[in-house]
Subunit: 390 residues, 2 copies
Amino acid sequence: MKALLVIGDGMADRPLKELSGKTPLEVAEKSSLDRIAKDGICGILDPISPGVPPGSDTATLALLGYDALKSYRGRGALEALGSSVEILQGDVAFRCNFATVDENLTVIDRRAGRIETDEASKLAEALQNVRLGSGLTAEILFKNTVQHRAILRLRGQALSRMISDSDPGKTRALTTRFHKILKDHPVNRKRAEKGLPPANIILFRGAGTLPEVEPLPDRYGIKATAITAMPLIKGVCKITGMKLMYVKGATGTYDTDVIAKAKAAIEALKSNDLVLLHVKATDVASHDNNIQQKIEMITKINRMVNHIIKNVDLDETIIAITADHTTSTATKEHEGDPVPIAIQGPNIRTDDIEEFNERVCAKGGLCRIKGKDLMPTIMNFIGKTEKFGA
Amino acid sequence: MKALLVIGDGMADRPLKELSGKTPLEVAEKSSLDRIAKDGICGILDPISPGVPPGSDTATLALLGYDALKSYRGRGALEALGSSVEILQGDVAFRCNFATVDENLTVIDRRAGRIETDEASKLAEALQNVRLGSGLTAEILFKNTVQHRAILRLRGQALSRMISDSDPGKTRALTTRFHKILKDHPVNRKRAEKGLPPANIILFRGAGTLPEVEPLPDRYGIKATAITAMPLIKGVCKITGMKLMYVKGATGTYDTDVIAKAKAAIEALKSNDLVLLHVKATDVASHDNNIQQKIEMITKINRMVNHIIKNVDLDETIIAITADHTTSTATKEHEGDPVPIAIQGPNIRTDDIEEFNERVCAKGGLCRIKGKDLMPTIMNFIGKTEKFGA
């Protein structure tokens, strides 16, 4: 028995005026998601706890069975890990932005005009081998990723969370050094000539160290693979012992190739006990306040699930569908409302729910569970849990 | 106001192909259990936590209101306590089997041909006053119970869980000593003459010490009695301060006399605030993969409850019905699915559930609760809880 967990990022929503008080899930064409709901058991799920708006990192940790309130250590190390930066226990990593400041060091563009990756790479080169000085000894690795985004890794004795984004004083020295190198760099001189904002400062945020979690293969004796385009989710999956599968055309944006992702998931199920299939852009649509785009992304997820249902042996496969959190297209923020969950598979007690959405699933046979209870539930369905007691 | 808690061991199940996707509870004649559901409030209950398959010991601890994840210390001491072996804090006890090994010490029969109790008693006599030696000082008590089953109790300084079944090296010395005594024992010579497998070795498992729990009489100021045929459940009830009631004809097997048990419960309710009435054989049927027998055992439990309903004052008695865990008759294992719960009594908010089974109770007014929340709920109904706060 295998298990597939489909996560629509921020797919759950609140009632929207523009949809006459309905949610995107309540109006989108999603017959295959409804089929999972109809053939399976439904419920609602609090990723962390009722009313707590989760990040995608904490929510995914929870959906993989971990108590994120205990194990989460910030975003930076997870994002770095998902960006192919080696992170060891003890390292501190930040998610960074190339940005633009004026002469008074006031930020005037948080993304340096969404600087192109090639230019950012040249600037990043100039930031190697910088030393912290002033008593703080740490090995510094700075790596740009896509456009204005970058990773800073600090490695040294007892760094831990001494250096944190909530205590800007600690990183001010490094910011100043980086600024001095960047402001006169040829790349920025050329940008100025073209009238583009110079990428003359690095903003640090999301300081983090690795969470200490027991990997899924150790905990359940399983092989697990994740399919996601997002570095942050890749990092979460990596630290929990999942393998990552690269899918051409999986972009994390509206144009992502959901059929390519479906095919990858079907392939991964052949040699794994658990496959996580994550689609980002439902969340992007909510942050963009784009209701129509969110509805279309739900329909794309539906097409993806439809392709999977038609091509896997449903007598040997548990399929669970949920969201990592609610993102309100009205507030454009993650919210603490629960998300719908549907699980179908052989030997699962069914209920009379026939639709996958926030309101109807609340009446389902799973009732209301916590995010961290989902993985034990799924593992129990595929026979991978151990008895506690005699 | 009194409370009766009826536990059908492993009574909950998963949908079975042979029953057209229904569970034994969904097809069995159980009009009295349905009446409790109809007159009372229903829900589903995770004995330990969603997806976690409980043992009967951890589940019963939970149903009595304890956090088994914190207080459970293994099976051995509970089973010993339930087999009338004195167990003190600090003692380590094992559940043992008389078994048969060949010349290479390879186990060829885990139960020594289910040796008769009389013969096992004679062998057990020969195992008294054995010393551990090699630095380990412990007082040893070995007691056979029924057929091949036995208890080993070690008492000494700082034994704790140093000696455990997961670390066979520690008990190897004792195993060797016992083997030397048993292999040439007259009882085994006679068995060999008759062509029976000699009981020439003792297998140790389920190392355990006593859980530290606040007894129910102290916690709630109640008198409580348990009616069960199983040593393990007797041990759990004893350690929680319940009295045990012996019932002639209560066997823990299919032929158990449920009317005798019902009469005992009615009698016990006269002088107790809480009576636990446990029936084992529903679980046995699942482990035996015997669907028909499970259905018949549910109907026997129904007859037992019917006898009780007709003979107690329902205006003065709360009756709760549940299972300690799900046992799948398909997998023959304890599973982590929740169990149905129904509670009837005066002043209890009712719901519109009219049937006692896994799927329908999920729609009940109790929603989904945890095992450890059941006892406070029951105690509150009979007015035995204290206000927390002012």
